[in-house]
Amino acid sequence: MALLSNAAALLGKELRTEFRSRELLTTTVVFILVVVVLFSFTFDPTSIESRRFGPGLLWLAFLFAASLMLQPCFLREQNNDTLSALRLSVSDPFGIFLAKLLANTFFLLLTEMLMLPIFAVFYNVHILPVFPQLVLVLFLGSLGVAIPGTAFSAISAQARMRELMLPLLLLPLLTPVLIASTEATAALLDPNPALRADWLGFLAGFNVVFLTALWLFGEYLLEE
């Protein structure tokens, strides 16, 4: 129980820090926007073509944006020397990760929600009829990005060239998330929309595996 209340307090702190400046959110939204616009030049964005390429490019844009967005997650604590304070104040180090990964998932989901209507307009796809299902896919996919992403943000904060290291560590590992989320999104944007329970289950399984790993190894990730 202490874990959850600690995590909730830390989550509040993460959200407050971000919403005071909104630096991360604005830059990520603009980044995704740029990627989505640039992608439209690489093929003819008609309705049929968009259904073929759209889900993949959307998730690629999210993945790249996430690998940038997760960057300051632990770097901020390191630069301000607040990591040891955090560790002292929280009984279970997993609480720190839980709070950070939930905050990251929330930020990712928020930017995705902002981008989704723009994507639908630009690429001529209908998202309204399948909106709740789409949110479910986005949530599971974002969680899948945020769990290893938060862990690796703690790793890359220790390295030189950290801005490049995080995408390098994270993106190959996210292959399963990319495939599952893209397939699930593509099935929803199909003329006969279908909720692919198998891919959603796969995403949930991915999240469980890495959440367990984070729970087991989180305390070592915070060592200085």
Partner: protein, 225 residues
């Protein structure tokens, strides 16, 4: 030193012998002909690389829990040797695939898995080169190695559900699979030889890493003085 030389000599003879077996003792495959011979290099390399990466994972786990430098040395040695064997797999695969499938590469489950594995362990080595402090380097690369290894089955199954073209496993592949006995003996011996080579390489690399640590230690001592 003498032991290493003796081991290398034995391995040289063994590999030469298995090469002879693969080309002259094992029969020529009926449909693929001589092209199939490359499998005697491809398949044992794949098995050996997985074994090396398994050793790397074990060493990573042991380092995180025990914090002894030797596990770090073993981890990096196994990762590098595993990477070398995966590279062999990735090079021999397309050489075989081009005449048989008509394409060099396809994004099939096992091919993609091997390639993603290659990328993950390249990242592992890159990460190591980017962290100065030896203790931090050992700990954080070990943690990354653990996460990367956990990803392997997930990558495999995600791509398997998605699309697959690779020939179904002939060895241990269930009903209808099985090998001509002479082929089986050849495969087995090549694999034994490659595993021996892997152990020899890991051992040499491990000793190098231990020496490097000694040098670093000595340098720090002189700096303190």
């Amino acid at each position: 030193m003498l032991k290493t030389v003796a081991g290398a000599a034995i391995l040289f003879v063994l590999i030469a012998f298995t090469a002879y077996l693969a080309f002259n003792y094992a029969p020529v495959e009926r449909t693929m002909g001589a092209i199939q011979k490359i499998f005697y290099l491809h398949l044992p390399s794949a098995f050996t690389s997985f074994l090396a990466l398994g050793i790397c994972f074990y060493a990573n786990l042991m380092y995180v829990f025990r914090r002894q430098a030797k596990w770090d040395w073993l981890g990096v040695s196994a990762a590098e040797v595993g990477l070398a064997f995966i590279s062999v797999v990735l090079i021999t695969g397309p050489i075989w695939a081009h005449p048989v499938w008509g394409i060099w590469w396809t994004w099939d489950a096992r091919l993609t898995l091997t390639f993603v594995l290659w990328l993950l362990y390249i990242s592992y080595l890159l990460l190591r080169s980017m962290i100065e402090d030896p203790d931090k380097r050992a700990l954080f690369s070990a943690l990354f190695g653990i996460f990367a290894f956990l990803d392997v089955p997930l990558v495999y199954f995600s791509i398997r559900w998605w699309r697959t073209q690779h020939p179904q496993p002939v060895i241990l592949g269930g009903a209808g699979s099985g090998l001509e006995p002479r082929m089986r003996v050849s495969y087995l011996l090549v694999w034994v030889a490659f595993t021996g080579l892997m152990i020899l390489l890991i051992k040499a690399r491990y000793q190098l890493e231990a020496m490097r640590a000694d040098v670093e230690e000595l340098r720090r001592e002189t700096e303190v003085r």
